[in-house]
């Protein structure tokens, strides 16, 4: 494939994806829109953790904490302090960054799985604060999330808006906000990964000492990536809060962090596209099983004693994590690119087989 045709092909793919994403709210029902929005927010968070774990090799089990910081900071700043909601959202993301920065004495010094265990402290400490600081977090019952309002446009069900005969409720409106946020987050992360910082991060992952000798400030980079990654977490938290319209402490537990790690492993470590694919896989799977569980063998209705859809989804993606690492290094994204490389090769092979024997054999 020449460079030109490849460019045209990728432009066509991206055009189709964008068109599909923009057209989706006109055709999909609320259930799928909500699922899609969760997938989008998960994708934002997964991109962040992929910068940390995939590109820099630092394990974090504390991502759920940063989502919580983002979500709760947004609620607190917009309803208690009374800031305009977009400002509250920006400050909430900044607050997650500050929380990540406060952890940097540890994030900069510990490596790999050590950091993973240390970040467990964020989860359990965070849960403790969420349950106890009732004036800010609302304790066990959580708090309602005020809808986003951008230049006078409210992301809620009222006032009513109808576009092309489709009533635009909060989900339809948030869909576009989610698309824009995800797009920006993905572009920024791609820029980081393709530029000098990305090279430095990969160098730290592959050989810490060599990276240091080449002049990469290892501890500073580790701390910096941790901060960026936690800001991505905060952004994902704000999105989740807007979609849920309520934040409760239970949601931001260890299971959420594990979900995020599963996403990047399944999708593909160290790349933006991998994070997005993995996020879609992990967030869509339980919903698909819930919706079509009746038609599937082995999946029973919740509470009937069999494997419930949520459990089946967890088992499936637990197995997916193991399978991917054992058989598909590079995740689903790696599989896709290997297929793409394999197809021209097959064509070549066929061509070579059909060609006449070379005459110059002695």
């Amino acid at each position: 494939m020449s460079r030109r045709t490849r460019w045209i092909a990728s432009a066509a793919v991206w055009g189709a994806v964008t068109a599909g994403a923009v057209a989706a709210p006109f055709y999909l029902e609320g259930f799928w829109l909500q699922t899609g929005l969760f997938a989008m927010s998960a994708a934002v968070g997964a991109i962040g953790i992929n910068l940390l774990t995939g590109a820099t090799g630092q394990l974090s089990l504390g991502h759920a904490f940063f989502l919580a910081v983002g979500a709760y900071a947004y609620v607190y700043l917009s309803s208690d302090v009374g800031l305009p909601t977009p400002l509250a959202a920006v400050l909430a993301v900044a607050a997650s960054g500050v929380a990540g920065g406060l952890f940097s004495p540890i994030a900069g010094r510990l490596k790999g799985a050590y950091l993973g265990i240390a970040t467990l402290a964020l989860i359990f400490g965070g849960q403790h604060v969420l349950f106890n600081a009732e004036t800010v977090t609302g304790g066990y019952n959580g708090r309602a999330v005020p809808p986003m309002e951008l230049f006078g446009f409210v992301f809620a069900d009222s006032p009513e808006v109808v576009v092309f005969d489709v009533p635009f409720g909060s989900l339809e409106r948030l869909w576009f906000l989610g698309l824009v946020v995800l797009g920006c987050a993905a572009l920024f992360a791609r820029g980081v990964l393709r530029g000098r910082p990305g090279l430095a991060m990969n160098a730290i992952r592959d050989h810490e000492i060599a990276a240091g000798v080449m002049g990469v400030p290892v501890a500073r980079y580790r701390a910096g990536v941790f901060v960026v990654s936690s800001m991505y977490g905060g952004l994902a938290g704000v999105l989740v809060a807007l979609v849920f319209q309520r934040v409760v402490p239970d949601y931001f537990g260890i299971l959420l962090s594990l979900d995020y790690l599963a996403m990047i492993v399944i999708g593909g470590l160290g790349s933006v596209a991998g994070a997005v694919i993995g996020a879609a896989f992990v967030s869509l799977l339980p919903q698909l099983l819930t919706r079509y569980g009746d038609a599937l063998p082995l999946v029973a209705a919740p509470g009937s004693g069999g494997v419930s859809p949520a459990e089946a989804a967890r088992i499936l993606y637990g197995a997916a994590v193991v399978t991917v690492v054992l058989f598909l290094p590079g995740g689903l994204l790696g599989l896709a690119s290997r297929l793409r490389r394999a197809i021209p090769r097959i064509k070549e092979l066929r061509w070579a087989n059909s060609a006449p024997e070379p005459a110059s054999r002695r």
Binding site: T53, G57, Q58, L59, P105, I106, R109, L110, G112, A113, Y114, G116, I117, A118, L120, A121, F124, G125, Q127, H128, V129, F131, N132, A133, R205, I209, A210, V213, I254, L258, L261, A262, V265, L269, V307, S308, E311, R314, I315, Y317, G318, A319, A320, V321, V322, V325, L326, P329
Partner: protein, 296 residues
């Protein structure tokens, strides 16, 4: 004062149980350099077997079956997954163990459901009175068993062929292999031993004063992670110290909750992690961990 002594004994006893879990964790790390997040589900598996089998075969047989079962599960994880994961970094293997943990924990919690399973131990809720101090028998037995197991383990580590092979592997796997140490066997046995220790720990985490084995038991097992890391992941002494620190801190914080009301309810659960952070700030490799020197 009485309360203090009671809390101290309870804390040490709980700490000894955590030390058992942390010890398994450290053994796996030394033998295979994998940080094993499957540990919580190994523990759950052992506890579940004991709880389900004791009405059928009696308590002692059930305990042996539980220990053997958890050891087999551990060995299987090593044999089927860890050994086959040909990945460059051990960080990725750590994530694989998370995947295995998700699988096992989901299935086990599904089996347990909303039940609270009794362990059927002979000590029940009997207490021992030493003057004004009252201590549950289970706590004393836990302390004794854990201490005995730890001593036995450390002796084996020092004096048996298995222990020498294990230490040689931890020191330099390649050289050990050249000297005839079978690395596969070493790592398999490490995982089996860790599983067995976890099952014993599960028994003592679920007896009086805890109501029994339920789906939150895995969360209790999570407290052994800070124990292992604050002591130093590659140090058996560290695992013991870490376990005791975590156990005593947790018990003290929960016991004096009334006086510590400003810290909020349930501070005992968060305390081990806070202690871990405080220690890591000053000693990033843990209390007894070796700071690995690197040669370029």
């Amino acid at each position: 004062m009485t309360t203090f002594v009671e809390l101290l004994v309870n804390g040490v006893s709980v700490g000894a149980v955590y030390a058992l879990i942390a010890l398994g964790f450290v053994v796996i790390f030394k033998a295979t350099e994998v940080v094993n997040f499957t540990h919580a589900s190994l523990l759950l598996a052992g506890g579940y077997l004991i709880a389900r089998l004791h009405p059928v075969v009696g308590f002692w047989a059930a305990v042996s079956a539980g220990v053997a079962g958890a050891a087999v599960v551990g060995a299987l994880v090593e044999f089927l997954v860890i050994r086959r994961g040909r990945v460059g970094s051990h960080g990725v293997l750590a994530i694989v163990t998370i995947g295995v943990d998700i699988l096992l924990t989901t299935e086990l919690t599904r089996q347990i459901g909303t039940d609270v399973l009794a362990m059927g131990d002979p000590w029940r809720d009997q207490v021992v009175r030493l003057g004004p101090v009252t201590i549950a028998e289970t706590r004393l037995v836990a302390l004794g068993v854990a201490a005995a197991l730890i001593v036995a383990f450390l002796l084996a580590f020092k004096f048996t062929g298995w222990g020498v092979a294990m230490r040689a592997t931890a020191e330099d796997a390649e050289t050990a292999a050249l000297m005839g140490v079978r690395l596969g066997r070493v790592s398999l046995s490490a995982w089996a031993v860790a599983g067995g220790l976890a099952a014993v720990a599960a028994l003592f985490l679920c007896v009086f004063p805890t109501p029994g084995l339920d789906r939150s038991t895995a969360a209790a097992a999570m407290k052994a992670f800070p124990a292992a890391i604050l002591g130093g992941l590659d140090s058996t002494t560290g695992a013991l110290a870490g376990g005791l620190i975590v156990g005593v801190t947790e018990t003290m914080m929960s016991g004096y909750q009334g006086q510590l009301a400003f810290l909020g309810r349930g501070i005992g659960d968060a305390a081990p992690y806070l202690v871990m952070i405080a220690i890591l700030l000053f000693r990033p490799a843990g209390l007894f961990g070796t700071k690995e020197p690197a040669r370029v």
